[in-house]
């Protein structure tokens, strides 16, 4: 179905190749996962399949790509739009029209499909993606998962033979991601649609796919059946890491498969000792009976929360549960309707955002919203200037060194990679040495290596007595760092306690290891290995 021969591609004004000598073949009906570190060329490879690279992006392209016998470079994206459906990373920037079914019909209208056939096709994709009840809804009222399913529906309207998706679940909570992935599996299995999907969260996708293509620095380093690919890959989901450590073969990809192996060693296992005591530090952030309403709709209801020095509390819940709203209330960006928030014992009522944010660092979901200065150093110094603090170059240099971006100090922040920009943004909000860090989806779009390096950084801050309140959909991240977890649903706290208990008992938010060994309070591979070795 797809053949790439010796494809090398350079983006305009870049000397380093985004793709280098790529030879790749995908058979009809395959479900292929494209993975690899950030900046390894995954998105570029996907865009080669429908001609967006090089037709839309420019640059220098050599080699040959064919989809269903059509030469992609010669035909261009317009012709390829009928063969390859494309779903980009951010569903919010993809909608053209304001109503669900009109949005789906957009590509059909462009292709001058007769109105009668158009109706049939729209109905077809509405049913395929379970969107029929939402057909008259305004696009902007849809949830994240619904929007992503709509983006897939719009890509399928022209009945393409290949569906290409670039990190389709990166912004979704586990349940919504599962809904989207099940829809893809149905398309692949029932219609025989060829699906190529790029994703960092391999643990979410691996079990559904036939093949893994691993890219590094624009080259394919592993390509083959997903089990073989994951066995040789340097990183992988916790289940795979555990299987590799215990030499479980064939490599399990689902919890069901993993349990077959887990049961064989279960007799050697002992329940973990009581979790280390938490709540030992001084409370630095206290939320008491917090209520907030947006346009008359209560979005936070009676929230009680305490974060102590040196601990990390994870805030989890579905999209729209009120997690980001709570962070904004803490920083004073949104006013509480009732209740109180105290930082280091001092109420935030009546204080300005700037005043609160000298004690509380808040890293928003999109770190690019923070960056505007000419250099990395400037970004940090501007925050100090805003807060009328001493712009000491020593303090700035120390923080940059701690963030491991000291060598980037004089570069333009927006030219940096996604992981580096995340660190600059973190520096810009923490240069005032706040006692509390509020992190809103800080690892979105980051690969496992970058994620691990950020976690190490936070651990250093925790050791120095800072407290972290972390909003995340990534349950493996929460399992890795959070001492306690608070689960929100529709603006209310529905569970709160040690992470082992809260995540371990949740059907949707439990990490792989907790699902593999239920009731033992284990969350990480290390937990298991420690007990196996005993």
């Amino acid at each position: 179905m797809i053949t790439l021969r010796g494809v090398t591609y350079h983006y305009p004004h870049r000397s380093e190749a985004a793709l280098e000598q790529v030879d790749w073949r995908v058979n009809d009906g395959e479900f292929v996962l494209v993975a690899g570190p950030s900046g390894s060329g995954k998105s570029t490879l996907l865009r080669c399949l429908n001609g967006l690279v090089p037709h839309f992006s420019g640059g220098v392209y050599t080699g040959e790509t064919e989809v269903d016998g059509v030469n992609v470079v010669e035909a261009g994206p317009h012709v390829l739009s009928r063969l390859v459906g494309f779903v980009a990373q951010d569903p919010e920037s993809q909608a053209v029209f304001d109503q669900v079914e009109n949005e789906i019909a957009f590509s059909l209208e462009n292709a001058a499909i007769p109105a009668t056939e158009m109706r049939v096709r729209v109905e077809e994709v509405l049913d395929l993606l379970d969107l029929a009840p939402l057909r008259r809804r305004a696009v902007q009222t849809l949830s994240g998962g619904e929007r992503q399913r709509l983006a897939i529906a719009t890509a399928l309207a022209l009945r393409p033979r290949v569906l290409v998706l670039d990190e389709p679940t990166s912004q979704l909570d586990p349940q919504s991601a599962e809904d989207v992935l099940r829809a893809l599996v149905r398309l692949n299995e029932d219609l025989g649609l060829t699906i190529i999907l790029a994703e960092h969260r391999v643990e979410r996708i691996a079990r559904y796919t036939d093949r893994l293509t691993w890219l590094e620095r624009g080259r394919i380093v592993t390509d083959g059946p997903v089990r073989e690919g994951l066995w040789t890959a340097a990183v992988g989901p916790p289940l795979v890491q555990l299987a590799k450590a215990l030499d479980w073969r064939p490599l399990p990809l689902t919890i069901k498969e993993g349990k077959r192996f887990a049961n064989t060693i279960s007799l050697e296992l002992r329940p973990v000792a009581q979790p280390p005591p938490v709540n030992v530090g001084v409370p630095v952030l206290e939320v008491e009976g917090a209520n907030f309403a947006y346009n008359g709709v209560a979005t936070l209801k009676n929230i009680d929360l305490i974060v102590r020095a040196g601990e990390t509390v994870a805030l989890v819940g579905r999209n729209g549960a009120g997690k980001s709203t709570l962070l904004k209330c803490i920083t004073g960006l949104l006013p509480l309707r009732s209740g109180d928030i105290r930082v280091a014992g001092q109420s935030t009522r009546g204080r300005t955002v700037a005043d609160i944010c000298r004690q509380v660092a808040y890293l928003p979901q999109n770190p690019d919203d923070l960056l505007f200065a000419e250099t990395v150093v400037d970004e940090l110094q501007i925050t100090l200037r805003n807060h009328k603090r001493d712009e000491s170059s020593r303090a700035v240099a120390e923080l940059l060194a701690r963030l491991e971006i000291g060598e980037l100090a004089l570069l333009y922040p927006r030219d940096l990679s996604v992981g580096q920009r995340q660190r600059v943004a973190l520096g810009a909000v923490t240069i005032t040495q706040p006692s509390v860090l509020l992190l809103d989806e800080p690892t979105r779009g980051l690969d496992p290596t970058l994620k691990a390096s950020l976690v190490n950084l936070w651990k250093k801050w925790l050791a120095d007595g800072a407290a972290i309140l972390l909003v995340t959909h990534d349950v493996e991240l929460a399992a890795m760092i959070a001492d306690r977890t608070v689960m929100l649903s529709q603006g209310e706290v529905i569970a709160s306690g040690p992470t082992r208990e809260v995540l371990g008992s949740s059907p949707h938010f439990s990490p792989q290891i907790a699902r593999l060994f239920p009731g033992r309070g284990w969350l990480s591979v290390a937990d298991v290995l420690r007990n196996v070795n005993q």
Binding site: N50, E109, M118, Q140, T141
Partner: protein, 345 residues
């Protein structure tokens, strides 16, 4: 739910807009304003728009500004409210009630016009607005509409960036402090535009094969341009008939686009069939405009109101007031209910 054709709504908008511009009687203007609000309330699809302009708040600001500005700067009228020292530049002198009323009426015209546009924008879906453009100009129409729909998203982005900068202690104090907001907004806006453009190309936008334009429309276009040139020259030399030539140019160019639209292979999802209800909406809008005709002499006088030199109560013609209710036809039909207008397949 009853829905009307976008072209019927366009006539309604043009009628309401024309009246808002022409009429200066505040009593009629208030009536027009209320009618447009009622129509929006009755006809806007439920939950169709997440973000809405805070109309009444903006209206209050416009009215206040317009009234104060005119009162402070136009020292005309006979009813003195307050005397400011004459030495004060621009605002010094007598502040008169008549000037305040004149400013208020101008503000009222402006918010009435805004109200009609807002109602149109809320009621008519974006997808139908694209159908208003001739098919030959579809791509241009689509691009303009995307630009319009970009505004709410840009405002959301602006608020997000403002919040992000506020947590760094940023305070807006004049133009120099705008940079932290403007740079991320521009860069983010460009990235969003590129993402959307990429998605549209991937979805086949502009994929229809180009059709050779036959000689007929080409000649008509050329003729239209020549008429337009001739008309402009006639007007430049003081010839009143220049307007006729310009009118002819518009008609010929419109005809050329009509022919070109026939060649465009683009199709529409759920094309609407013109219905009796649409005709009634158009009829109501035209009826409301009847007194604008020069033949309606006595009634026509009541349309205009001038508070100078001394304020007097504006005239009100009950008959014309009733005719204005023609603009409420969509709301009346909506409340009357009935079957949904059929969609031709």
């Amino acid at each position: 739910m009853r829905v009307f054709e976008a072209r019927a709504w366009l006539v309604w908008l043009l009628a309401g807009g024309l009246l808002a511009i022409m009429v200066s009687n505040p009593l009629y203007l208030v009536l027009l304003l209320l009618l447009s609000r009622v129509v929006e309330f009755a006809c806007a699809p439920v939950g169709s728009r997440g973000w809405r302009l805070p109309f009444w708040r903006i209206a209050a600001v416009i009215l206040l500004f317009s009234t104060l500005f005119n009162m402070l700067t136009a020292h005309i009228g006979q009813t003195v409210l307050l005397e400011l020292p004459a030495a004060w530049p621009l605002i010094g002198g007598a502040l008169n009630l008549e000037a305040a009323v004149f400013g208020f009426v101008n503000g009222l015209r402006l918010i009435t016009l805004l109200s009609f546009f807002l109602a149109f924008n809320t009621i008519v879906p974006v997808s139908e607005l694209t159908n208003l453009a001739p098919r030959a100009l579809h791509e241009l129409g689509l691009v303009m509409l995307i630009a319009v729909t970009y505004i709410p998203e840009t405002l959301r982005q602006f608020r997000r960036i403002r919040d992000a900068q506020a947590i760094r202690g940023h305070e807006l104090r004049g133009l120099r402090t705008l940079r932290p907001l403007v740079v991320p907004l521009l860069v983010g806006g460009l990235e969003r535009a590129l993402n959307l453009a990429e998605t549209m190309v991937a979805r086949g936008y502009g994929a229809t094969s180009p059709v050779a334009i036959p000689a007929g429309p080409r000649l008509l276009m050329l003729g239209g341009l020549l008429f337009a040139l001739g008309g402009a020259l006639r007007l430049a030399w003081g010839g009143e008939d220049g307007w006729l030539l310009l009118g002819a140019a518009a008609a010929v160019i419109a005809w050329a686009y009509h022919l070109l639209s026939g060649l465009s292979p683009r199709t529409h999802y759920r094309p609407r069939r013109w219905s009796t209800a649409d005709t009634l909406v158009v009829f109501g809008a035209l009826v409301a405009c009847l007194p604008l005709l020069p033949t309606w002499g006595p009634v026509r006088q009541s349309l205009f109101f001038n508070p100078y030199p001394q304020l007097m109560w504006p005239l009100f013609n009950v008959g014309w007031g009733l005719l204005l209710f023609g603009l409420a036809t969509p709301a009346i039909l909506m409340l009357a209910g009935g079957a949904e207008v059929e969609v031709s397949r």
